[in-house]
Amino acid sequence: MADELAETALRAATPSGVEYADVRVIRPKRYLHLAVRDGGASALTSSLSSGLGVRVRTRLAWGFAGTSELNPAAARDTARRAVRLARAAGRTTARPLRVTEETGPSRGRYATKLREEPFEVPRDDILELLVDAEKRLHVGPEVKSGAASFQAWDETKEFLSSEGASYAARIVHVGAGVTATAVRGALVQRRSAPNSFGGACHQSGFEFVRGLELDARAASVGKDAVALLDAPVCPTGPTTLVLGSSQLALQVHESVGHATELDRIFGSEAAYAGTSWVSPGAIGSLTYGSDLMNVVADATEPGGLGTFGWDDEGVAAQRVPIVEAGRLVGVLSSRESAAELGLPRSGGTARADGPDRAPLIRMTNVDLLPGDLSMEELLEDVDEGVYMETNRSWSIDDKRLNFQFGTEVGYRISHGELGALVRNPIYAGMTPEFWRSMDAVGDASTWQLWGVPNCGKGQPGQVARVSHGAPVARFRRVAVRGA
């Protein structure tokens, strides 16, 4: 199975003094982005990239090099460059590196299960779908701008390590969505479906996009955007907050997923993305949220953008409990960080976003598990409150404590029922207080898996593709206001 070029690079990457090396060959990575804006094409783009990345470890340091050139000379040159970097870095420290011993080398093949190859669907068929949906957004002159987009990713990868790991993978993601922007004077309101920032994404074939029924959703999206222009600003004050599934998914991402990345916890990302309010000693004892809170990082979940066979260190995909009944029980880890914490094995979350990037700890599919209340039952106990859905803005501090999220829409809740639309809703809080205030969690009928295809981390920057499953949930005494 092993790629000849990968073997060439691996040989060049293992001179005397190198204890470990791995090679990833991406051949190819395809990307298709079709976006229609106001009847015209804002982006009709396809890309095809290939490349090779080599990572080496000496007793004292890592080294990484990547290239877009796929030929034996470039493979050797890239490998030697990684070795030079590791040796130069090793001269600055006397502390040996440690990594977990992974039992049994990883060998095999992983492929996305799909029914309809997205790159084989005629592009004019996809464009027809987008043009039709975008047109339906324009329900009146106040819809100043409409957008409909489709994206597909398809990556074929070979992985080879000096420990004998050898796997091949083909992973396909698709996504689509619509957004209407309504403008009146200085007032600008946006409404999107099924989600903001590109729509909904899954590991799937084109059948997922067909199931989104963008054309059927578009008119109501346009109407909502216009209605928001006349809606009152969200009221201010501590109140009961009910979050829709997609917004709660992003809340999980920012305040649980990133906070439990072990590289952040150990300070490896301190200068850029930040650290975490979670300390290494807190695992097993920290009360993260209410006893209704159960979170897993599941790299085996069907449809997830963070689903794979093996990570970019050759560690097999796992389902790792993170929070059980409100207590922190696990973290997201790599071979090096797991060894530093004293874990027996890596959680298998080291991923790179391309051949020219080194693997970092990235979320897989970090899910808040469903509870047992229907939406109606969850609202029943709310005398006054606000329901918010579809993210509009997000920000959180560098320890993942103080957060503020804005959503596209809010609805007042009164005596157990959803009421009037409110615009510019914002809620804010502190991570532990917020999760400890969660007193009701929606059942499986409210739970959905959402792709987050734009998770930034690392220097040079990397964009990971992850997912989060979340139900609807209720939080008490949350600070809400209108922007």
Binding site: A35, V36, D38, G40, A41, S42, A43, L44, T45, S46, S47, L48, S49, S50, A61, W62, F64, A65, G66, T67, S68, L70, D77, R81, R84, L85, A88, A89, T92, R123, D124, L127, V131, S145, T181, V183, A186, V188, G267, S268, A270, A271, W277, R357, S395, I396, D397, D398, K399, L401, N402, Q404, G406, N424, I426, A428, M430, Q459, P460, A483
Partner: protein
């Protein structure tokens, strides 16, 4: 590896792909070669040394006014054929871009040479590692026992842009960027200091100064809590960089103008800041990380954005110049770029310095806050220029013109327009900030004193 010597023969081969096109069609292409070394360090050691060498070809085909773009890293003859075929097939099915003005000709203003450091472009792994080590050593000697983390990015990019209107232009850029965080997680609450620098010449990066400054900025006393609310603020240069970068994206990007959400769309030609505020975009300046052309081959130029506080027009690329009926300004991003959703935006910002020292800015503040930098800044409401983010790595209370104590970090939710309109004093020392470490987005700015800045909540540290 040497960028200049690798691929000229293949580049000439691809030039043929934009020549001799049939009537009613046109094309442009971007050939980019980049070589970067990144040395990351944390917990006192170099933990992520990185090198990358990439070649990319971006080809855009126009079938009349229908546009399709395709890119590839496969620059073999077969790869080039495929990228051309793919762009053509996309263009054939694309919706029309009714006001597409066509690609620029070579008669447009010629690009001028810009500053470039050949030594930086060919820096070795060992030399880059040594720069990181110098930062680490300087910081550690001033702050023994502290946790030190940061990055050094050094590299080069060569870009050639050709089109079927006869344009054939090249630029090469060099960039060096470093930043360092010195923190004391063992203190309760923790304290930290920050410094950074960017220059087109790695030899001018001043690693010792960067390491020393971060270490010396670590507070020696415990931060106290202050109540959220509106404060007079002294924003250090790193914080000002965030403000003007969001102003550039929300106020001077063409897509915001076209789609109606620009925070300046009804304010062009009007005063939005005091006369002391002069903001320009100038990718040719030695004070930034210079580049001679944009991604459509248009010569970069000095573009006034705020002239004595008066808002000037948004910047453009080929498509938005047609939609807005305005001239090209040389601000095209790659047509395939995800950031293309924002459209063309100013990327080499220079805020003119004033004549105040940081001490004078502080002395002019009876009661307020000194902010070193912001973290995780995001848009709340684009039409009002409203953004939110956290303070980070050194926020201090000012009383009666003196810094009296560090404070725990705060969240702000404020409009970039309010911040600039309230500017009372501008610092004289400027610093270049490069957020992506690749020279793509550079802001060179001084510190400012602004009358009122709204903090909406506080955090625990």
């Amino acid at each position: 590896m040497n960028v200049a010597s690798r691929t000229p023969r293949r580049r000439d081969a691809i030039a043929e792909s934009v020549r001799g096109l049939s009537s009613g069609t046109s094309a442009d292409l971007r050939w980019t070669e980049s070589l970067w070394t990144t040395i990351r360090f944390a917990n006192g050691r170099i933990h992520q040394p990185h090198h990358e060498w990439n070649v990319n070809l971006s080809y855009r085909f126009a079938d009349g006014n229908r546009l399709g773009t395709s890119t590839t890293g496969d620059t073999s003859p077969a790869g080039i054929d495929e990228v051309v075929r793919s762009a053509r097939s996309l263009a054939r099915v694309a919706p029309k871009e009714p006001k597409f003005p066509g690609f620029p000709t070579d008669s447009a203003p010629r690009p001028r040479p810009v500053a470039f450091s050949a030594a930086s472009a060919r820096i070795s792994p060992e030399e880059a590692t040594r720069i990181a080590e110098r930062i680490l050593t300087a910081a550690a000697s001033r702050a023994p026992g502290a946790r030190i983390a940061g990055v050094v990015n050094i590299g080069t990019e060569r870009r050639r842009v050709l089109n079927s209107s006869g344009l054939d232009r090249s630029t090469r850029t060099s960039a060096a960027q470093a930043s360092v965080l010195v923190d004391r997680p063992d203190r309760d609450p923790p304290v930290s200091g920050w410094s950074e620098g960017a220059h087109f010449d790695a030899a001018k990066l001043a690693p010792e100064k960067i390491g020393r400054e971060a270490a010396e900025r670590v507070a020696t006393t415990a931060p106290v809590s202050v109540a959220p609310g509106a404060y007079r603020v002294v924003l250090r240069d790193s914080a000002v960089a965030s403000i003007i970068e969001f102003l550039a994206a929300l106020g001077f990007g063409a897509n915001g103008e076209v789609e109606g959400w620009s925070c300046l769309r009804r304010l062009r030609g009007k005063s939005v800041a005091p006369p002391a505020i002069d903001l320009v975009d100038d990718a040719r300046s030695r004070g930034t990380l210079p580049g001679a052309i944009d991604y459509e081959g248009v010569a970069t130029r000095r573009t006034p954005l705020l002239e004595h506080g008066v808002a000037r027009p948004a910047v453009t690329d080929v498509v938005t110049s047609g939609r807005l009926g305005r001239p090209l300004t040389g601000h095209a991003v790659p047509p395939e770029s995800p950031s293309g959703e924002w459209g063309p935006v100013p990327t080499h910002l220079l805020l003119a310095p004033g004549d105040a020292s940081e001490e004078e800015l502080i002395r002019s503040t009876r009661r307020g806050l000194l902010v070193t930098r912001f973290h995780y800044v995001r848009v709340v409401d684009p039409g009002r220029g409203l953004i939110t983010g956290m303070t980070r790595d050194g926020t201090y209370r000012i009383e009666n013109g003196e810094v009296v104590q560090p404070v725990r970090n705060l969240r702000f939710t404020e409009s970039v327009l309010t911040t600039l309109k309230g500017t009372e004093l501008v610092g004289r020392a400027t610093r270049a900030h490069n957020t992506d470490g690749r020279g793509g987005f550079t802001s060179t700015c001084p510190a400012i004193l602004s009358r009122s800045f709204r903090f909406t909540s506080a955090t625990l540290f």
